[in-house]
Symmetry: none
Subunit: 193 residues, 4 copies
């Protein structure tokens, strides 16, 4: 099916985009380099996006959406906060092991002032965090003073930042194992109470 072919192509383009942006930065990842790496014509991308900026924004949207869906799903299935954090961090660590490019990509673009997470997604994140706080207050796993930023910071940002400190060998260490993962879980759970 023609449709199928297309999606394969666009998938290749997206992967190439992530890889190149992570390794060379936004400016260093030229559209033609992305196309070349994806084995696609230079102009191909413009059939789906209005431009490079649009393309990258969509990439971010997808990756963030993936995390949001995870979180959302976890919250709606009766898990405890600790369980949620355990599973989510497990997911993030898996992502880092299997597709380190993705975790780097999230890390870089979430901290950029040129690529904000969309209003709609921010709203979703807010709703999720509010729900989590409510649930945590009920189960006594989250103390009163915890805010939206604390929840978001501890469940999503902190694990991502930790992994990138390792990927950057910030303190000289470049790998991680299940001990690290378990430790981070405990750290985050404890931070919220």
């Amino acid at each position: 099916m023609a449709r199928n072919i297309d999606e394969t192509k666009m998938e290749r383009v997206k992967e190439a985009g992530v890889t190149l942006i992570v390794n060379k930065g936004y400016g260093g990842a030229s559209v033609s380099a992305i196309a070349r790496q994806a084995n696609v014509a230079e102009g191909y991308l413009y059939r789906f996006y209005n431009g490079k900026q649009d393309f990258v924004a969509d990439l971010l949207h997808t990756k963030v959406g993936f995390l949001i869906d995870k979180l959302d799903h976890l919250l709606n299935n009766g898990y405890s906060i600790r369980e949620i954090i355990t599973i989510l961090i497990g997911e993030i660590f898996s992502m880092a092991s299997e597709r380190p490019e993705d975790i780097k990509f999230l890390y870089v673009l979430m901290h950029d002032y040129n690529f904000q997470i969309s209003h709609e997604q921010r709203k979703k994140i807010k709703v999720i965090c509010e729900k989590a706080i409510r649930k945590g207050l009920e189960t006594d796993e989250i103390r009163e003073s915890i805010t939206l930023e604390d929840i978001y910071g501890m469940t999503v940002l902190y694990p991502i930042i930790f992994l990138n400190l390792r990927l950057k060998e910030f303190f000289g260490m470049s790998y991680w194992d299940h001990t690290d993962q378990a430790r981070i879980v405990n750290f985050c759970v404890h931070a919220l109470k």
Copy 2:
């Protein structure tokens, strides 16, 4: 005195650099735009730096150095961990109020893969964190499982991230007050134990 004029000019260039990088990203902050905003000739920057990359690296080095000096000074003056965190976060919040561009700049560049904090500065940060852990273990303000990344994350990264979430109006809020500051202090202190 001619000398005096120089320093004013370079200061203007640096300020313009920070502002533009924060608002337009590294690639979007063209040398000529920086020069224009600083009211300086386009070639001026190159009398002091080997290039744009060099210039921005120095900017980052200075801002990070400022934080390191603060931390270092606090650790060597017999403050408790809580005191240190209180003062440091106070410092960071002041910076955010007085020169929000600076805190944005740190936020953006500390999370970039193209601008690593220099090896030398990373080393210093490591030494400081190690010292802090030792001291915290003694005074029982830091629990055993705390690592370098935890200390660094809670004392430096988390406050910066919090402020930028506000500056970006991530959850709809764009300001902060002393209550927030006190809360962050407590959060960080508690997270480490």
Copy 3:
């Protein structure tokens, strides 16, 4: 056909390059001036060459290759040294009449320290000159003491230099005719014996 258009364009660029380099020197012939004169976009050249230097080197390579091919062909067809010199100089004079820019270009770049004739072409020239000497010794048209430099100097360099002295009106004369050509032939033949 699209292909056809290309070649015309690149041809125009090359011509413009030769003209401007001859008249303004390498440094004075800016890529944008070349593009403008060729009625081509500024970036066009970079689709075929890695840079200006690469472009000019290719120009030189082509022009020199043309001469080498001529020489090679003449040597392999049983002509006497006098005949070879006569034909070659005829060729050079024709080139000077029809495309004086080309002869100027050769003159300028062959005497530059920034654009050496490629190793490969120098090798070919050497082989050709050696062959010529052997043949000349056999036919008694070249005396024993003649060296590679002498042969090369008299058959290629001297005619080119003569023509450029005229083109520059070095001694006040700016044209030449068949008498000059015949005289140069005799001069060169006689110089070698």
Copy 4:
């Protein structure tokens, strides 16, 4: 004496100019690099010349003037053509051995379309060549068909070109000795008759 100091400085600037132009080309020899190498202020040169072009033209004028004076002196002292050629070529070979930069400089700039030898000097060269021809005709050392270009080419240009072919290792050889020098003398003498 102040005057004396000046001349030393300017001499250094000129030397630096020759060296840098020869090694990096006209465009590659920046005024500031020349000044730096001469240990002189960047603006110094402009107290004596209207600009870089003017400066280099003067350099060429001086070097060419040196040759002209030599030639002129030789012609006015009753030497035979062979003696003149012998001495002149000896001079040129000495220059190449002692200050190869100078011979490269002459080679490069004499073949440039941007730096013509001055009208006045060309006139002098013409007069000298005419005188030489007259004398050569008398002593039967120059045959009838020899022209101004031939004389100039054989006495001045050919030796310079030969030496530069060696300096460029055009045919793989990079040095020369007295045998080469003697051979060139004979070659030139013979070429003129």
